[in-house]
């Protein structure tokens, strides 16, 4: 079966700690262009992708 071209993604995680101590992870997806260049999460948002635990 001939395979159709699909979009490839660069996945980034933004982990936060909730008030009750549980963690929550936002997954962000950025299409990887033909050149292999990726658009990073930091370029999209000014938020710190590190979890409060990591800081």
């Amino acid at each position: 079966m001939k395979r159709k071209k699909h979009t490839k993604y660069y996945m980034e995680k933004e982990k936060i700690k909730k008030e009750d101590g549980r963690y929550l992870i936002y997954y962000h997806f950025h299409p990887v262009f033909k050149s292999g260049k990726k658009k990073s999460f930091q370029q999209d948002k000014s938020a710190d992708p590190k979890s409060p635990e990591d800081r």
Binding site: M1, I16, R22, Y23, L24, Y26
Partner: protein
């Protein structure tokens, strides 16, 4: 109260989690805890006004990262231990309505990337011996929140069903020097009567020994044991075959088909399982448009399933469900 109690008769752990009785039960749409938090409204589980895919620790977990000490004392016969582990919820979409079936192949592909990441991250924790990814769909299954989501349990032991499969696969490998699942796949593909769908990397069909009328298994054509061993093309193909199967389910009787979807992968206890084989199993609860398949006396008490239907016929029904309008997206 939250603890693991050992059943010495069946040789298996039971999770006691009394706090789960208080979990949110079928809330109205405007009080869905899995929707994004909108300005001025109550805070949901997700403190953002939008998201793509989100994963968080279950508010009512069966297994906890920091469990309390058991409330009762353990002894030789009645063993008890802390319910250590992890329970996560994966939100497929910020959109409240719909199901996984309504997500595009591309969205399902991204979900697979998240599943892969969770398998790796949880599996790397030394206390987690088995990462179990699953979805319960539909109220008849017992779903308490209709917002599209799945779950992941990080077990501190290998649960009984995967353990039984591992044992059968190990014995078969030892005797025949080949993978049990590869052999089953070869036989199913040669026969063809129970096939539902197939692509470059996966086969979907009703097994010869199906327990539920519309039970379907998706098996990788290549011998691999976990999501983390797949190529990007295989992740794409998995998204395509998942979409094909669940769309066929929903179109069979033109209603949202309830099911349990469970992913069987190798354990994460640092041991080698070269004889195991990645697959996903679906257990739909309906046997006819208005009839449910119950796990009654024989199934629950004797552990023997009675299937009132012929797998070959049920597979033909699903194979004949027309999805030609979306086939372009499934290649």
């Amino acid at each position: 109260m939250s603890e693991l109690r050992w059943n010495p008769v069946l040789s298996q752990w039971v999770i006691i989690a009394t706090h789960r009785q208080d979990r949110t039960f079928l809330p109205p749409k405007d009080h869905c805890p899995l929707c994004p938090t909108t300005p001025g409204s109550f805070p949901t589980e997700v403190p953002a006004d939008d998201y793509e895919i989100v994963c968080f620790e279950n508010r009512f977990p069966s297994l906890k990262r920091n469990p309390p000490e058991p409330a009762v004392k353990s002894d030789e016969l009645f063993k008890v231990k802390p319910s250590k582990g992890i329970c996560e919820v994966i939100l497929y979409t910020p959109v409240h309505e719909g199901t996984l079936t309504d997500r595009s192949v591309d969205e399902i592909y991204r979900l697979i990337l998240v599943w892969t990441d969770r398998f790796k991250e949880l599996g790397d924790r030394k206390e987690i011996k088995y990462v179990f990814i699953f979805e319960n769909k539909g109220e008849v299954i017992g779903v308490t929140l209709p917002h599209p989501h799945g779950q992941i349990y990080g077990f501190p032991y290998i649960p009984p069903v995967p353990k039984k499969e591992l044992e059968s696969a190990r014995k078969y490998y030892k005797k025949n020097n080949t993978c049990l699942f590869c052999k089953i796949l070869e036989k199913e593909r040669y026969d063809g009567r129970r096939k539902i769908w197939e692509n470059n990397s996966f086969y979907a069909g009703i097994p010869f020994y199906a327990r539920y009328p519309y039970e379907a298994h998706i098996t990788s054509l290549r011998h691999l044991t976990a999501l983390t061993e797949m190529t990007d093309d295989e992740h794409q193909d998995l998204a395509c075959i998942l979409k094909a199967l669940i769309v066929k389910y929903d179109r069979l009787w033109n209603f949202s088909f309830p099911y349990m979807m469970v992913m069987h992968q190798r354990p994460t206890d640092r041991k080698n399982y070269p004889y195991y084989h990645f697959h996903i199993e679906f257990y739909p609860t309906y046997r006819a448009p208005e009839k449910l398949k119950y796990l009654a006396g024989c199934e629950s008490g004797a552990g023997t399933f009675i299937n009132d239907t012929l797998p070959e016929e049920k597979a033909r029904e699903l194979r004949n469900v027309d999805i030609s309008d979306i086939e372009r997206d499934l290649k």
